[in-house]
């Protein structure tokens, strides 16, 4: 019941609002629905516009007045993944006919593909660093959360506050020493460096959220298992972890989104090898400035996973954004 009521999306009818006088007439409901729907449409226009722009060609993307109806093309995506050079008409003539659809798109601009762009590598870095740091943060967070939930930890409240306060710290306040430290240790521009950093950013959140989830699992389950001969560790692995699976998954998605979206440290600490997508995408240059079609394509590819994850998370969003304090 508690779990079900936590769902933002599905408050059981007749739960808290059943005889509430704000339970209003159909007309009022309709009106409320229309106003909210209008807000939703307006608020989603920017995202929809970027999605549209990613399918425009390079000139349509910067046309004024802005183009609403256009023939979709993958030029933006092609430009995102390739580097191109302008070629003389004579050279273009001498080439064999384009072998692929993306060759054709590029040649129509009197250009030839010079090679792949760094985008795929940057995206892969985001994946590696995102998943690596999420795994570590959730792993450490689950252990600590279990200890905080079940055992008498000395100074428990102080430690929990300490853990949360590190999350509140402005990243820039510690960025200078971390920059110096990483330079000294050779961690600058490495995957390991960012993974450790993002783990530290996420672990405090993971502890708080997971403690809430583990608190909800009755102690009796483990106690019964231990009477059955399990050690504490076995009971933790075989009884508690499966029970906490949903909570662990939700926490992991939150951590993944945070690491995925992080920008400031990636900008300061990485340049090439371990650079993630967020600092890279704003620098996709075309001829004469930003190539907005390609930038939009990169933005869409980068935002899409987060949108999907948000849908998966919708039942736990409230809990996530309050560090596990609000469950209902």
């Amino acid at each position: 019941m508690d779990r079900a009521a936590a769902e933002v999306a599905t408050v059981p009818a007749g739960h808290s609002t059943a005889r509430n006088p704000t339970e209003s007439s159909p007309a009022v409901k309709w009106l409320a629905g229309i106003v909210v729907a209008i807000y939703a449409v307006i608020t989603l226009i920017p995202v929809a516009w970027i999605a549209m722009t990613s399918f425009k060609d390079v000139t349509e993307a910067v046309a004024y007045p802005p183009v609403v109806f256009f023939e979709p093309t993958l030029e933006g995506y092609v430009n995102l993944f390739t580097t191109r050079t302008r070629a003389t008409p004579e050279y273009m003539e001498s080439l064999p006919p384009p072998a692929t659809w993306y060759d054709r798109i590029v040649r129509s601009r009197n250009m030839v593909i010079a090679g792949p762009s760094p985008f795929a590598g940057r995206f892969l870095n985001s994946v590696i660093i995102g998943f690596g740091s999420t795994f570590l943060a959730v792993f450490l967070g689950t252990l600590a959360a279990y200890a905080f939930s079940r055992f008498r930890v000395p100074l428990k409240d102080d430690l929990m506050f300490f853990i949360l306060s590190t999350r509140m710290m402005p990243p820039i306040a510690v960025a200078i020493p971390i920059f110096l430290m990483y330079r000294q240790l050779g961690l600058a521009d490495t995957h390991l460096g960012l993974i450790l950093l993002y783990t530290a950013i996420n672990v405090s959140f993971a502890v708080w959220l997971l403690k809430g989830f583990i608190d909800e699992i009755p102690r009796e389950y483990e106690e019964a298992a231990m009477i059955d001969g399990y050690t504490r560790l076995q009971a933790f692995v075989k009884v508690v972890l499966p029970q906490a699976a949903t909570g662990i998954a939700a926490t992991a998605i939150f951590c993944l989104i945070t690491a995925w979206n992080e920008y400031a440290f990636a900008l300061l600490l990485t340049t090439r090898t371990a650079q993630t997508a967020p600092p890279f995408i704003p620098n996709v240059i075309g001829e004469g400035g930003l190539d907005w079609a390609a930038v939009s394509a990169g933005t869409m590819l980068f935002l899409l996973p987060v949108m999907i994850f948000t849908l998966l998370l919708r039942k736990h969003l409230l809990r996530g954004i309050t560090f596990g304090a609000v469950r209902k």
Binding site: A9, T17, R19, N20, P21, K29, G33, V35, V36, A40, T43, L44, P46, P66, L140, G141, Y146, F151, F162, I163, L164, M168, M169, P170, P171, I172, V174, I176, P177, L196, A200, V203, M226, D228, G229, Y230, T231, R232, L233, V239, I257, N261, Y263, L268, P278, I281, P282, W292, T299, F302, V306, M307, F309, L311, L318, I321, T322, A325, V326, K328
Partner: protein, 308 residues
């Protein structure tokens, strides 16, 4: 759940088998604490130390001198810093005001439980999950003076002809407020919605019996019940707005002029472009003190909300 009980193990179970609880506690908690000490607390103390020196990170060979409070003095004497703090205050206050108004308003509407409210809630929440840097980037495109749809729409309906959000020193500060509100009004909405749901219906029924007007009900029942969660939202948003960096640097880079140069942006410039490491450290400590104070309040409220 295991059903077969090995008889020989039953006797010792729960008491001794495996590691003791004490050992497990430390084994489980220590790695997290060590990591946080290494990557948060140790650097923080290092920042405090650096703030009393004239160290420059781009000249590692140079002798580092202890300069006492000089960095803090030049920080407080600087008119520029004062104006960055004013820019930040303007941004924080207006962003939060708008987010509370829109968020609370949406929550009141969504609380009517019309058909499809669940789907709409999820859709509205989308912006706050997106990468702030990329949000800043694509809003820069929407605000683009040559190709931006936003400026076009305003010009079309307003008939201004030359309206351009990011090129105007008057409007640019509002551009960052607008984008932050677009992103984060849903956050306030979600918390207010939780607050509204927590109001027990009998309070309203009793109020009806006492013939309290709708307005009185709102003022004396709804608002006080939603307040704790609203405060949590406001505090959290205040902390985050104060720290905001990604979105603004991609959207305006502090311009035009220095009208959207927030404290966090100028701190980054001092530290990593001008390489005044000592001075930037003092600035960082100043910001840290403000945020730390606010975080303390935040945690107090969280605990209060939790204990309800």
């Amino acid at each position: 759940m295991p059903s077969s009980v090995p008889a020989d193990r039953l006797a010792t179970a729960a008491v001794s088998a495996g590691l003791s609880d004490r050992v497990i506690t430390w084994l489980f908690v220590a790695p997290t604490i060590v990591l946080l000490l290494a990557i948060n607390i140790f650097p923080l103390f290092w920042t405090i130390y650096l703030s009393f020196t004239n160290f420059r990170a781009n000249q590692p060979g140079r002798a580092v001198e202890w300069v006492g409070l000089d960095n803090y003095r030049s920080l407080f004497d600087s008119d520029a810093v004062w104006s960055y703090l004013q820019n930040t205050a303007h941004f924080v206050v207006w962003s939060i005001t708008l987010q509370v108004l829109i968020g609370f308003g949406l929550a009141l509407l969504l609380h009517r439980q019309f058909r499809g409210h669940a789907t709409l809630t999820t859709l509205i929440l989308l912006p706050m999950m997106l990468s702030p840097a990329l949000v800043g980037l694509f809003w820069r495109y929407l605000f683009d003076p040559q190709a931006g749809i936003f400026n076009y729409v305003v010009n079309y309906f307003g008939g201004f002809g030359t309206f351009s959000m990011l090129s105007s020193t008057q409007l640019a500060p509002w551009a960052i407020i607008l984008v932050d509100t677009w992103m984060w009004a849903p956050y306030v909405m979600l918390l207010c919605l939780a607050g509204l749901r927590s109001v027990p219906p009998y309070l309203y029924e009793a109020a009806e019996v006492d013939r309290a007007s709708r307005l009185q009900q709102f003022w004396h029942i709804t608002l006080p019940m939603v307040m704790p969660l609203l405060m949590v939202a406001v505090l959290f948003r205040a902390i985050e707005c104060f720290k905001v960096f990604d979105m603004v640097i991609e959207l305006t880079s502090g311009g035009p002029g220095e009208t959207t140069e927030l404290a966090s942006l100028s701190l980054k410039r001092a530290a990593f472009e001008k390489w005044r490491t000592g001075y930037a450290s003092a600035f960082a400590i100043l910001l840290f003190v403000v945020v730390f104070g606010a975080s303390n309040l935040y945690v107090k409220y969280l605990n209060r909300v939790k204990s309800r």
